[in-house]
């Protein structure tokens, strides 16, 4: 009897935790998309008005981007500063591949940033600024969609986790 109760509690706890994790990803995505836009805005300002060297510009974008999103820019800046013949595009692509696992961003969101990797530090100032504005606009669209998804699915994921666990317990008893 005690074993059954323990198992039931374990199943319920695990499925509830899974539901909370999924709901948490839905909640974090709009926030991180906004962080990404802020970081890109800072980067754009640094490029447009400051004409700052790219590693420093990326570092200040990382400071503006919060912990999860900032890590992408920080890793890019570190890779660039380390030298070794990395182009900014390579550094950014590698940083994206490394750090994207710790964010709630989807491949579609990351591909918007990856498209920037081609032009960052490789073309003229006006061209880079145009690409950064375009990326920010696309990210704003994604953010609106992510907020809509959050409103619809966050609570659902939480409830489904708990209820799915309850259903499993009922079936196994």
């Amino acid at each position: 009897m005690l074993g059954k109760l323990l198992g039931a509690g374990l199943i319920l706890g695990c499925s509830s935790y899974a539901g909370w994790q999924v709901a948490g990803a839905y909640a974090r995505r709009p926030v991180q998309l906004r962080d990404l836009q802020t970081a890109l805005a800072v980067l754009q300002t640094e490029i447009e008005y400051g004409a700052t060297p790219l590693p420093e510009a990326l570092a200040s974008a990382a400071r503006a981007g919060g912990p999860a999103v900032g890590a992408i820019f920080r890793a890019t800046a570190e890779r660039l500063a380390a030298g070794g013949g990395n182009t900014p595009g390579d550094a950014m692509r590698e940083a994206l591949a490394d750090q994207s696992g710790s964010t709630a961003l989807r491949p579609g969101d990351l591909s918007i940033v990856a498209a920037l990797a081609e032009v960052l530090g490789a073309t003229g100032r006006a061209d880079q600024v145009r690409h950064l504005s375009l990326a920010r606009e696309r990210l704003a669209g994604e953010e609106a969609r992510a907020a809509d998804e959050r409103a619809r699915y966050e609570r659902m994921a939480r409830y489904l986790g708990v209820l799915g666990g309850a259903a499993l317990v009922l079936i196994f008893i």
């Binding site: 609570r155 409830y159 309850a166």
Partner: protein, 65 residues
């Protein structure tokens, strides 16, 4: 007669009903219908087992082995 199976069926029905309502509210009507179908099949397997017991009982009562 074992009543616990009845409670189990009632519980599964209740949980599936609430889950289907949640899915429908979130705009995932198809998944909700699929879940209801799964719940019905689940309960049906339990009921079929009971029916099987019932028929063997009838057979043994009237000596129709």
């Amino acid at each position: 007669m074992d009543v616990s199976l009845l409670f189990k069926i009632a519980g599964v029905g209740f949980v599936v009903m609430v889950m289907a309502t949640m899915l429908k509210q979130a705009g995932k009507d198809e998944q909700g219908q699929m879940l209801t179908l799964v719940g019905v099949l689940l309960v049906l397997t339990m009921v079929v087992r009971l029916l099987g017991n019932f028929f063997t009982l009838v057979q043994s009562t009237f000596g129709m082995q």
